[in-house]
């Protein structure tokens, strides 16, 4: 599997990009001697004009490069944690619905549909507005709007797997139903979940950025969306303030998508997507 993945140039490019972003996020306090909120130079310093401030300064004279690095922390953290939370909600619900069927399925799916009928972003805005924007509330809001597709995917996978012969065999061997679900069925649904999760991280990063852009970010956490939102009013006079965080978002999301594609190809060899991906 690693062989198939590593032969995919796009996927490897994604991995390299993502590792770079992670490295910058982890080593931000070592690379930069000042925090992203510190006013270090005169405001609106153009990029590449002063040593030590390669990406210039923002409206208050804060280092844009440092802001980008610390912003990576917030983006990755929110992306990963909210995806984990979404999986924790979506996987059990989907698995129960798909495995037990009947009223369990009906109930779980109506519940899921309830969330799916409300536009994601609108619901996220409402949730964050109600719970006051903090990193925790933003993460939870993103998780709450992202789990329904997981539940539906897991349900469909479980439904198809549970009719396979090896499941019948397990049942004949006397395994209990919960045990069959946990040990026989679920492990066989992991690969599509992994693929989906990698794409969900990307979506979560975009959602967090959009919320911050609208001013619904955590005011004490530097994030890429915040940077663009704050730079919006000066976009004509200071292009770099929105350009660099924009590039950072594009590259990170692109990297996650490439990895997702690569995983998809690697985990589903029979779906030969050569030339398409």
């Amino acid at each position: 599997m690693w062989k198939r993945f590593s032969s995919n140039i796009g996927a490897m490019l994604g991995v390299v990009l993502l590792l770079a972003v992670i490295a910058v996020a982890i080593f931000a306090p070592i690379i930069f001697s000042h925090t992203p909120w510190q006013m270090v130079q005169r405001p609106f310093l153009t990029p590449f004009t002063m040593d030590g401030l390669p990406l210039g300064t923002d409206t208050l004279g804060r280092d844009v490069a440092s802001q980008l690095a610390y912003g990576a922390r917030v983006s990755l953290l929110v992306g990963l944690v909210s995806t984990l939370v979404a999986l924790l909600i979506g996987v059990p619900l989907g698995a129960l619905a798909g495995f037990y069927g009947n009223w369990v399925d009906e109930g779980a799916m109506r519940f899921t549909e309830f969330f799916q009928t409300i536009p994601n972003f609108a619901l996220a805005i409402v949730l964050v507005a109600i719970f006051e924007p903090t990193l925790a509330s933003i993460t939870i809001a993103i998780a709450i709007v992202s789990w329904p597709p997981v539940a539906r995917l897991v349900r469909a996978e479980v439904m198809s797997v549970r009719k396979r012969e090896f499941v019948d065999a397990a049942r004949l061997a006397g395994l209990s139903r919960p045990r069959i679900l946990l040990t026989q069925v679920l492990p066989n649904t992991v690969s599509p979940i992994i693929v989906m999760a990698s794409l969900m991280v990307a979506t979560a990063i975009l959602l967090e950025s959009s919320l911050s852009f609208l001013g619904l970010g955590d005011p004490n956490a530097m994030s890429w969306g915040y940077m663009i939102g704050a730079a919006r009013t000066v976009i004509r006079s200071a292009w770099w303030l929105s350009f660099f965080p924009g590039i950072a978002i594009v590259l990170t999301v692109l990297a996650l998508n490439l990895i997702g594609e690569g995983l998809n190809d690697a985990l589903n060899p029979h779906l030969s997507r050569k030339g398409k991906a």
């Binding site: 006013m39 405001p43 208050l60 005011p219 704050a230 009013t233």
Partner: protein, 515 residues
């Protein structure tokens, strides 16, 4: 006090006029932001309403940029030596926009009946008034119970708009259908209001000052987005951007355009002063050393230069420098992080978290809060920004659920009108974000505030207020930030737009367009 007598003629207006003769005709497009809730100034007095309705309604006086009273509906006036009797002589031949004659009865009705019921801020000043009478059609006499120094500042359009008695007497003011088509005595008449688009005023041909107004019509344009307002000005769609209608960052770009002028004048009467409420009741902010440390920690010059693009002035205390009886003989809090650290160490500050509540009025205020948080953290104060919206800000400040909270308030020309309300104990009342929200209690100073308001002579008042300012600045009940200045941006061919202390609120009366 000597009898004050104003000249009959508009000396101020003639002096302000340039050598070129005023030209009649033309139209002015002014941005109004946000759209006013109504134009009946006796009922609604928020900013946008005052901007538009200041052309429709008038009061007895106007004020120049030094806050000296000037004639408006009253062409002259006297104050008795004991400070108790104010006599106004009204202009002859003034007509309401519907053609009815304007008389002293209208003034008595407006001040004594209508505004007493509808105008909370004026009601506080009217509490000093014993009687308001009209001995004849052009004379009005205000008899006071006790001297009240700032009373002469109460005759501004937004404070005491004169409303037509023949339309409102005996009706339910709030539901009177004429509120939709306001009738005043001002230089412009209401013509049309297309909601969400524009308000159209036309020249009052019967205006009582010869030749005025010069403009034929004024359009107040409603453009909800700040960037779109800037573009509308750039493309020439609007001629005037009133203070605060575009983001500060856009100001330099717009003022650098050819043929564009700007002025910071026209706010002297309001003198918006910003500060942070500091909760005097609990937490580290209840210690005066902590509050002084906050003052020393902040780099207020930086904020003025960077966040406000150099507009405004660093505040020295509770009274703005354009307000009467301002004194700068007070302790100066310059940017001194070492001193702040010393004070914190002395009080034994242990790193308790302090929440900063920004004013939810856009990017400028958010950046400001970030700069303050950074300044505070540099001296070791563990500060965090609370996120909020307008409703949340009102709720938190009025329920005293904050540590540091940004705000700004108008001063209305006199410490007794717009300053003391934020510092006297009688103004501590949960539920309002406009009073003594910080919970500062100092009975000695309270007595001095009261005494100063009741003094007759201007010199006595000046001395009393200087003493108050000196004492209160050492106590730092709130962290004074900056005297705000909202530049008015306009095309240079618009002349005499800002000639009074309330700027373009009543500016179009004298304004003219050079061809």
């Amino acid at each position: 006090m000597n009898t004050l007598r104003a000249t009959t003629f508009l000396i101020a207006a003639t002096l302000a006029a340039p050598l070129a003769a005023q030209q009649s005709g033309g139209r002015l497009d002014i941005v109004v932001q946000p759209e006013p809730p109504g134009l009946m100034m006796g009922l609604v007095q928020n900013g946008p309403t005052q901007l538009v309705a200041g052309d429709i309604y008038e009061s007895l006086l106007r004020y120049n940029s030094d806050l000296e009273p000037q004639p408006s509906l009253a062409e002259s006036w006297e104050i008795s030596d004991d400070g108790l009797t104010y006599t106004f002589h009204l202009h002859d031949g003034v007509k309401w926009h519907d053609g009815e004659p304007f008389t002293a009865d209208d003034v008595v009705f407006s001040a004594d009946v209508f505004l007493r019921e509808t105008h909370a801020r004026l009601r506080a000043s009217l509490a000093y008034v014993e009687s308001i009478t009209a001995p004849d059609d052009t004379t009005v006499v205000f008899q006071l119970k006790e001297p009240f120094g700032p009373f002469i500042n109460a005759f501004e359009t937004g404070t005491m708009p004169i409303v037509p008695k023949h339309i409102y007497e005996g009706t339910d003011y709030a539901t009177n259908e004429m509120n939709a088509t306001p009738i005043g005595t001002g230089p412009f008449k209401f013509d049309e209001w297309v909601k969400g688009s524009y308000i159209h005023l036309v020249k009052n041909e019967d205006y009582y000052l010869d030749g005025k107004p010069y403009l034929d019509e004024v359009y107040y344009r409603v453009i909800p987005d700040a960037a779109a307002r800037a573009v509308a000005f750039e493309t020439g769609e609007v001629d005037v951007l009133p203070g605060g209608s575009v983001e500060n960052w856009d100001v330099p770009r717009l003022t650098e355009m050819e043929g564009v002028c700007s002025t910071g004048a026209g706010w002297e009467f309001f003198a918006p002063l910003s500060w942070m409420w500091m909760n005097n009741r609990e937490g580290p902010t209840s210690d005066v050393r902590f509050r002084q440390a906050v003052m020393y920690a902040m780099d207020r010059d930086f904020v003025k230069d960077v966040v406000w693009n150099g507009f405004g002035k660093v505040a020295t205390g509770p009274v703005a420098s354009s307000t009467n009886y301002y004194s700068d003989a007070v302790t100066q809090y310059d940017h001194n992080p070492d001193k702040a650290k010393e004070l914190l160490a002395e009080m034994g500050y242990g790193g308790e978290a302090v929440r900063i509540l920004p004013l939810p009025y856009g990017e400028t205020w958010q950046r400001w809060a970030e700069a303050v948080r950074q300044n505070l953290s540099e001296v070791g104060i563990n500060a965090e920004i609370d996120s909020t919206d307008v409703a949340g800000w009102n709720e938190k400040t009025s329920q005293w659920d904050y540590d540091l909270a940004f705000t700004y308030l108008y001063q209305y020309g006199d410490p007794a009108l717009g300053v003391s309300r934020n510092y006297v104990a009688s103004q501590i009342s949960k539920g309002s974000p406009w009073n003594n929200v910080e919970g500062y209690e100092n009975p000695e100073l309270d007595a001095k505030w009261t005494a100063a308001a009741g003094m007759v002579s201007a010199e006595d008042r000046a001395a009393a207020y200087a003493e108050i300012q000196k004492e209160i600045v050492d106590d730092v009940p709130v962290a004074w930030l900056q005297e705000l200045e909202f530049p008015t941006i306009y095309r240079c061919n618009v002349k005499d737009l800002v000639t009074t202390a309330i700027g373009i609120n009543d500016g179009p009366r004298d304004a003219w367009v050079e061809e």
